[in-house]
Structure formats: C-alpha cells, structure tokens
C-alpha cells in the first residue's frame, strides 16, 4: 500500500509517497538518490547499509520505510559539516582505512554511534560493536586504528 512518509534526512524534510513495505535503504537510494548508503546483503548481516536513525545505528536494508516516518536520518552524505569532515571521516582518511571503500560509509556511521555511546572503547569493545560490519577487503587492522584515532581525537576536543 502506498503511504505518505516524511523523513528528516540530513536535516532536510523529505516526503515520499511510496509502498510502506519498501526498505529505508531503497527509498534513500532510489527515491532520494542518496547512494552513499550501500546494499551489501539485504538481511542486516553486513552493516554496509548502516544509517543513524534518531542517532541510533540502524540497518536500513531491513528497516521498512514506514518505521522511519518522522525520524531523523543521518546518512554518510550528511555527516560532514559542509567542507569540514566529521572526526571519524578524518580518522579514516588519516589512517587510509579503506581499500575498495564500499563498506566505509557503514563503518564510519557505526563508529559514530559507537563513540557516542562509548567515547573511550577498548579494542574488545570496538570489535564487539563493529562485528556486524563486514569488510571483504579485510581491512580491519586499519579500520581499528582509525576508530582508535577518532576516539582519541574526540577525547582531545572534549578535554581542553
């Protein structure tokens, strides 16, 4: 059934009239043309489709768009503040924590959610939190370094 769905995506109100069973991922990519959010498995097992919904990490491929109605959605396109990248994006660049980069948007947004919940995670906590995100290039060591760097960077900003 078609429904009118309102999403606040990256700070902008977007209204779509669409079948409410469609995934949030499909609507972001196909209707709003926000292709930074990736399809990886369609069953919530790889984390490539991760977005933040009201600040909480959300697997958009298994989230019906109806569930996102009136919610604040942050996709990778909305993370930077104009030209100024988010510290997690900066950390991924600084560590070169990407190979093909296809998992990167999901990795970055999952990290943002991690550091919001736990600004100083141990390596074990990082692995636990990130375990749902697959990198098939297996670039985990550098991603781990980027997460540590981002945590340190955020701590530095907070402690004047």
């Amino acid at each position: 059934m078609d429904a009118t769905i309102t999403l606040i995506v990256n700070g902008k109100k977007r209204t779509v009239i669409t079948n409410s069973e469609r995934s949030l991922l499909d609507v972001l990519r196909e209707d709003l043309h926000l292709t930074g959010t990736k399809y990886g498995c369609g069953e919530g097992r790889c984390g490539a489709c991760t977005v933040l919904m009201d600040g909480i990490r959300t697997l958009s491929c298994i989230t019906p768009v109806a569930k996102a109605h009136k919610k604040m959605i942050t996709t990778i396109e909305g993370l930077a503040d104009d030209d100024s990248l988010h510290p997690v994006q900066e950390a991924f660049l600084a560590e070169g924590a990407m190979q093909c980069g296809y998992c990167t948007p999901g990795m970055i947004l999952t990290t943002v959610a991690l550091l919001k919940n736990n600004p100083q995670p141990t390596d074990e906590q990082i692995a636990e939190w990130m375990n749902g995100n697959i990198c098939r290039c297996n670039g985990y060591p550098k991603i781990l370094k980027a997460i540590r760097r981002a945590a340190a960077q955020i701590a530095e900003v907070k402690t004047p």
Partner: protein, 720 residues
Amino acid sequence: MIEDTLTEEPLEIQRSEPVEEPSRQVKLSRRTFVQMLGTGLLITVTHGVSLGQRAGGRSRQSTTVAARLHLNQDGTITVMTGKVEEGQGSRAQLTQAAAEELRVAVDRIRLVMADTDLVPDDGITAGSRTTPYTVPAVRRGAATARELLTRLAAKQWKVDSNALNVHNGTITNRTTKKTITYADLAKSKDIDEAFKQTIPSDVTVTPVAEWKVLGTAVPRPNWRDLVTGAHRYPSDIIRSNMLYGKILRPPSYGATLTSIDLSEAKAMKDVVVVQDGQFVGCAAPSSFRAAQALQAVAKTASWKTVPQPSSKEIFSYLKKNARLGGRSRPRTRGSIDKGLADASKVLERTYEVAYIQHTPMEPRAATAEWKDGKLTVWVGIDWPQRAQRDLARTFQIPTERVRAIVPDMGSGFGGKHSGEAAEEAARLAKAAGRPVAVHWTRAEEFTWAYFRPAAVIECKGGLDANGSLIAWEFTNINAGGAAIDTPYNIANTRILSASSDSPLRQGPYRCLAATANNFARESFMDELAAAAGAEPLAFRLAHLENPRIRTVLETVATHFDWPARRKKVTPELGVGLACGTEKNSVVAACVEVGIDREKGEIKVHQVCEAFECGPIQNPANLLSQVQGCIIMGLGGALSEEIEFEDGKILNASFAKYRVPRFKDVPQIDVHLINKTDIPSAGGGETPIIAIAPAIGNAIFAATGVRIRSMPMRGDLLKQV
C-alpha cells in the same frame, strides 16, 4: 570461458581469444574527446586518437603518447589506463608512476581509468599484472612525454636538451635560468605532432634509487569521495528516467525454462517484462516494484531440472571425473618411479579444498543506456574492453557502438572477470527504451557468480635414509596449476594439474589455485618433516635454494622467535609455519593458534608474515594488501565453504556463510622486504597462500591431528 582458464595461467588463454581486430581502433574527433574528458583544456589531440589499443598488458604492442596522456593548459596531465580500481590500489600506483616520470607532484595527474571510449586496452585487471606490466607501460609513456617536451623546449631555445633540467613540471635552462612549463608547452602546436609518436619500448625510466614519488605512501586520489559517500560505484549510477531490473533465475543449476506466463506482470502499471528464450526479466521504477513483477512471473514458470552432485560427495565426484591423461601433461624431473623405489620411507596423502565464493562487498551491478543506437554501460568488471566486446557480440553491433565504463568498484578478488549484469541491464534497457540498472542481490552473487574451484590434491613423497626428500608426486584435480611447482630442491618429481567436471561454475580467485596448491604442499612438507623426525623450519631450509624464499622464511622465523615459541607448544597452543612463491613474489608466515578441543574451536591468535615483491612502490597500500590477504586467508582456512545439493546453494547468505569479521582478527605483524635490485611484482595476491598451511601445521603441532581439508573445521578436533 572462465572454466577454461583454470588449468593454465588464465591470462595467457584470454589473450589468445579471438578479438575483433578492426574495431579496436576507435577514432575520436578532438571535439568528442574534449567533451568526454570534460576539461575543456585538452589540447594535445587534434587528429584523432587511436584508442582501444592493447597497451599495458604483457605484450608490448605500440601505443602513442597521445593515447596514454594529455597535457592540459592548466598544468595538469590527464593519464589514461584500461585498468580498474577495486580497492587494490591501482589508482594511486598508476598516478605515482606517471608523476614520477613526468617529474610532477601527484596532484597534477588526473587518471582516467577503464572507459573504453577514452583509454587504451591495458588487458584485464588480474593476476597481479598492473605492477609488472601496466606501471612500466605508464612510466614509459610518461618518460617519453617528458623527453618530447624537453626536446621541444630545447628546440624553442635552440639549445641541446642535455642543457635542460625538468622539475615539478617546469623545464629550466641550467645556463640561462630561463624556464618554461608543461602548461606553456601545451599551447604549442608542435605538441600534437610530437605526441603522435609511438612510445618506444626501450625508453629509460627512473631507477629505483632515484624514485621520489614511487616508493612513497601516496593515498588514493579519490579517498575523500569514499568517506563522504560522493563516489559513485557501479551500483550507484542513476540515469534520468531510469528503471530497476530483476532477472528470473532458475531454481537450480542446469534447470531449463519450459513454460511461463508473463500476462500478470505485463498488466502491472509501469512494468516492462522481457522474455528472450531462457532470459526473462522485469524492469520497473523501483527495485521493489520490479521484484513484485518478477514474483508474478516466477510463480508461473515451469522448469525442467537435471540431477546435480552435492557438496557432500564433491571430492569423490571430482576424483572420479578427473582427466588425468589426454591434454593434461605432467611436468617431470628425474624419475619419480626410481625416486619412490629408492626411498626408505614413502608418504601418501590427499588434501581437499572446498568451493568458496569471493563475496565482494558490492555484488555485480550495471546500468545500461541506449542512445542513438549506441549502448553505454557502467559495470563492475575487471576488464572494460571485455564487456565492450561481449556486448557488441550479444547485440550484433560494432564494438565502437558500445562504451563500457567501470567506475571504481566495490572489490572483486578475481571474482569479477565477467560482467553478466551489463548484458542483463542492456537487454532490459533495449526493450524498455529507457536506462535500466540491474543490481544483483547477495543471494544472486552467492549463487550465480563463479566460485573458487574445489580441489582434490594427491601427494606422494619419498624420503631417503638421511631424511632427505628424493621423490615428489603432486596432482591437483580441478583447481588449476598456479604455484603447483615445488620450490624445493627434489631430484625426482612428477607434477600434474588435471581438469575435472566441476558441477559449479568456477573461475579465478585471489591467487587462483596457488592457495590450494600451497596448502597441500606446505602441509605435506610438514608431514614429511615429522616423518623424517626433522624440525619443520630446518627441513624446509635443507631443501630450499631459492634465496628470496629463504630470506622471508628466515625473517619471519626470527621476528616470531620460532625456535623458542615451538618449544612452548602445548595441546592447547600450537605454532606453525609455511612459505611459498607465486607471481614473482615470495611469502612466509608463522602463526600461533589456540585450540579448545572440548568446544571444537580453533582461534588464530597471531600471524607474523614476511613478504617480498621487489621494490615497494607504495608501502601503505602494500601493507593494506598484505593485511587483507592474511585475514581473507583465515576465512578460506577455517570457515568458508559453499554447501550445495540438487543444484542449489544451501548457504547463500552472510548468515550461513561465515567470512572473517572484526572478532576474528588476530594480532598481525607484517614485515615487508624492499628488494630493490629486481623489477617490482604485484603484492595483492601471494600473501594469502601461506595462511592456511601455517594454521594447519600449528593445529598439528598442538594436537597431533592433521586436518587435510580446507576449511579446517574445529569440530574435526572434537571427534578425534
């Protein structure tokens, strides 16, 4: 076809495929070319460029300077290559190659990759060939351009070009201190004529000792677009008025469609349904709608199925169907019969390797658009010119009416040599009269992409009374001949790669059969060492002359503290080592493995690996590749295995097919050896081949149990 490429090195066979020669020369007018590059600054090409030439592959067919690079009036240089970027780092490396020889900073280079209308054919991106073949091709092109530019400056100033220096894109007369930039020279009309020159194969390139850009950790130029989501992967290409397509798949391998009713789907609003023989697809304004239409079609389909072997019986099936004679010829040394007869101890073992899937993060994807009889596709494939040729053949149109573009894509690992989605999208787009995107689902990628072949490897080894290896018989059934030759010094050998009848569609994978062959060889070497009562490292070194392998083996043993660690082995804690060589690079690894026999768990704690592939061109990227190979190797070693029955894949999802995740990552110590007196080899594959055997050897060291089948499942330890 891909299946044929397995018993030999694949690219040689691909190179002998018939190619439509005449259509490979694409003439572009200056205007078209400028429009395509979109710079408006291009000045070097006025008389048409010969594109689509085989340029940077193994063969040294001629390419003009103009086909390889263009000077722009703003001082940037556009460099063109047919190679694709899929995470392995070719974009940075080829940019470095051009910058090095042109004597400019990397940010002056604009690299255009994998667009058949713009780039020369550099062959397929596979086999670690970009480093040994395309990097030199780009360097020769750039060095030739620099020489031509220097000569032009010398001509203008009426001096000898030896009196000039080139630095940072500026040519300086050492005596008069007069300068002229590439950008200035780009305005000269002599450039066009000069750049029509063929790139000589013997042009001098910068020696390793003088490298300023190569050899440094240059980041991939478009990294920022990857962290912001701005980069468009093949699955992100959206064209105006585009539809999304879904393709009807058979319920099992070998099934054929006998009847189908399209009427219900055809009656759906905004839906296009296409049938052409066995091909049935639907396109609609959203993928959801297309899937609904496909469901309506699929429920009416009748199929004729055929019996198929299952993964439970795969190894006996492959063995039964092995073609051991005929075209498969063994490579021999000495007399294997005599060697085995002379041996005081003979060991005979069989190893197995399961089918696995590449599972690139981005499944196969393409967008196709027909305009004025010309087809443009954006597709994730390792060779744009192959997509171009295949599509031209399918649609019976001249090659130059097909443009294939490969945007930097979401990985491949050897799994994207074929571009099925491009043809599917093009068929639907043609019928719909609108652009169509086809994005394979994960289940489709698991089921319909080709697999890394399963293998049965039979080994026989003979030891003399002194514990020296004097006979070696090695037969790989089905997986192929990569790294099948033993690097060990053995007087009598018989080595054979035999094909079989693979029930699954199989093809290349990172390092091809080298992983399977090295697993069997290095496991068997350990078994022979044990039979000889020798220490595994000493046993290997005693049979090893290759100085490069010796170096990595000794390096890794030292860093890992092998002798001391080996003494500390307990039933719960094992250490193992393995080495190997392939694609002109060498690798050795030591691992520590923790074992819980009650739970049937194997956990890799540490991997220490030494790797050498000649002069290192980009150390940061090489480190990423080695780390990636090590962890990817854990998957094949311990958990990845395609299960199938009745022509269906039983575990076609990440929920059922376990790939390495964060929690599986061990402590990793990588030691890259920069050997500068040989040419650079690629580094994205060989580091994978030492992992599985090192783990198997560590399991044996701890438990005395030898697991001879990949993946090595912990529950095997439970039953013993």
